[in-house]
Symmetry: C2
Subunit: 194 residues, 2 copies
């Protein structure tokens, strides 16, 4: 059996990337994705999500043969027992990952090879908001700062432009920077409807 | 040694909660928290965060004796190998957990006992934004819907008011609903500065 040699850049299959972009250009409806999570409260500040199925590229995805499971917790200073990272920390993980993957993706699309990419994120938050102690204090992050250590085989100018482009096109970064509507509806049974 | 009996509600220590609120009221600077994450790109759509230290309540936290480690990945349809949930899915996990914990916290503050609380989240996203195929399409979630199954020992009216209050005071929900500034700065070494 002959092993197929695929051309990759930054670990991404360039042929598949090209096919995906061509498919979405010819039928933009394929770009509609729906992601999902189920979460169960355990006790106190502990709760657990299971993530597996999603809809995208015109079909329900069937590539995952088991659930991803993640536990939120709180540190003792926030009344918990470090059962897991806390939700605002998971948000930083999501943001770090999304900015990174978006940078890797658009670098590959431009033929820029990355040698390394790491980030550290700091998010400042005033818990008077969460605790409803001061109505003028927002409950969420005041701001989030990303320090990025990146090396690539391109000019400084190209790299700066790539990072700015990735920041504007990162789904999680955009969700944080832009007001995104969240609705809560009470239901008696758990069943995700498309 | 006599075991101390602590009064709890929904798994939260009411005495500690009262002390925390009293401390923050007398010195609001104690409510300033800074959360952090370090992330390392692995290859393709895979990257990994470590989360441990944070600043809050006037001091660096020292309660955690090991890192939390989380891996972002992508499914095959998004050029990955399901190395982990993807960043926009982790965002849903963060949002689910935060709305849940905020509900549990403010229920306890009101003396409302929760019998159960679970949520399912769906987030719709058009990947033409990420892929820069259409500048009019935002890169992030168009909207996120939370279905909540909750039972508590209070009236329907009190429960509805509690949920609406928790939605407004959840840090992750507020970060998603409100435009929060994110900045990226290139650095040559990784070192989080307060």
């Amino acid at each position: 059996m002959q092993k197929q040699i695929r051309k990759t850049c930054n670990g991404l299959d360039l042929e598949q990337m090209g096919q995906t972009v061509a498919a979405l250009k010819s039928d933009p409806a394929l770009a509609q994705f729906q992601f999902r999570a189920h979460n169960q409260w355990i006790y106190g500040g502990e709760n657990r999500s299971t993530i597996r199925d999603f809809y995208g590229a015109g079909a329900e995805d069937t590539s995952r043969d088991k659930d991803f499971v993640f536990t939120n917790g709180e540190p003792p200073v926030l009344l918990g027992h470090n059962e897991g990272a806390n939700p605002v920390e998971f948000l930083l993980h999501a943001l770090a990952g999304c900015v990174t993957t978006t940078t890797v993706l658009h670098a590959a699309a431009r033929g820029i090879k990355l040698r390394k990419l790491s980030t550290e994120l700091v998010g400042d938050i005033d818990l008077q908001g969460l605790l409803a102690l001061d109505d003028s204090v927002p409950a969420g992050y005041e701001s989030i700062r990303i320090n990025m250590n990146i090396e690539a085989d391109c000019s400084e100018e190209e790299l700066s432009e790539l990072i700015a482009f990735a920041q504007r096109h990162s789904p999680v970064c955009n969700t944080v920077c832009r007001p995104v509507p969240v609705t809560i509806e009470r239901v008696n049974t758990m069943r995700i409807a498309a």
